[in-house]
């Protein structure tokens, strides 16, 4: 028996049309709106269901069978970021499904896979790195506190696993 080898995909949900990209406000305003938080009713299991539906549509019974064993390990509606775990041989199918998602709870979205890793640790580190980058970018404008909480949020989840 061979060990089950997994891939972890770190994705973030972008809302390209949702907000009005107004000219007023600091230059980081557009960035924040683009990366706006998701509907709080969106849970990991809801996303997993959506991905499975997508697999069945794009890759039929075969796709749903080979990659249907995925789990959404982490999803935070506040940051619109999540981690999916899927078998190494079929991670590209899940990647495709994520990339082809157009809508979430009626809102037009774009899902971007920003990191593929072999361990959840590495993927979490990338999530934290990106979160820190965002904090540095907003720095004074948005107020650092909210950003720091975001990082802790991810780290707390790590402890539970």
């Amino acid at each position: 028996m061979v060990r089950y080898k997994a891939r972890y995909l770190l994705f973030d949900i972008l809302y390209p049309e949702e907000p009005s990209l107004s000219a007023v406000g600091p230059p980081t305003q557009g960035h924040i709106e683009f990366h706006s938080s998701s509907d709080p009713t969106i849970t990991s299991s809801y996303l997993a269901g959506l991905i499975r539906e997508g697999l069945a549509h794009q890759f039929g019974d075969w796709g749903a069978g080979v990659a249907g064993g995925l789990t959404v390990k982490y999803f935070s509606p506040q940051t619109s970021k999540g981690i999916v775990r899927v078998s190494r041989d079929h991670y590209r199918l899940v990647w495709t499904v994520l990339s082809l998602m157009k809508e979430l709870k009626g809102k037009p979205i774009v899902i971007r896979v920003v990191k593929v890793g072999g361990t959840i640790k590495k993927v979490e580190k990338e999530a934290i790195r990106r979160a820190k980058l965002d904090i540095a970018r907003f720095g004074g404008a948005a107020g650092g506190r909210a950003g720091i909480l975001e990082v802790e949020d991810i780290e707390d989840d790590d402890m539970q696993d």
Binding site: L55, A56, H57, Q58, F59, G60, D61, W62, G63
Partner: protein, 144 residues
């Protein structure tokens, strides 16, 4: 010791037969399939109605249905050429890289028409049309 004796012999052989150029087609672009549409309960071979034998559009839609069920949108995108239809059999051409998945999708499919279940029987598959057509004709050759 024996090798020293043999060596000049083989050399002479080589000289006597100038080398011919040999080409092996290792990865042909296309694959060919010979399918039969089967029904349950079966039609009589002599039946001639709007349902049997299936026409080219029926072939196309049934094949697409089977591929969509098994492989989703990806399956429906497989390029299939229907080369010839004879009664309830058809000869198809498809990209070789999709041939395996095609075989699985088509052989495991059970669809339905108004009155009966429909499926496919793979009579032959191969990378060369000659082989696929020839295989089917072998049976006819020995029929009295």
């Amino acid at each position: 010791m024996s090798s020293t004796v043999k060596e000049p012999q083989t050399e002479r052989k080589k000289d006597a037969r100038p080398s011919l150029m040999q080409i092996t087609v290792k990865s042909p672009e296309w694959s060919y399939a010979h399918l039969k549409m089967i029904y349950d309960p079966p039609f009589l071979q002599s039946t001639n109605s709007s349902l049997y034998p299936p026409d080219i559009l029926t072939w196309r839609t049934t094949l697409t249905a089977s591929l969509t069920q098994f492989l989703g949108v990806m399956g429906s995108a497989i390029h299939i050429d229907i080369l010839h239809i004879k009664h309830d059999e058809a000869w198809l051409r498809l990209p070789r890289s999709d041939a395996t998945m095609f075989g699985v999708a088509v052989s495991g499919y059970v669809g339905s028409t108004e009155t009966r279940a429909v499926g496919f029987k793979i009579l032959g598959m191969g990378d060369f049309l000659m082989g696929v057509v020839g295989k089917g004709e072998e049976d006819d050759l020995w029929e009295l």
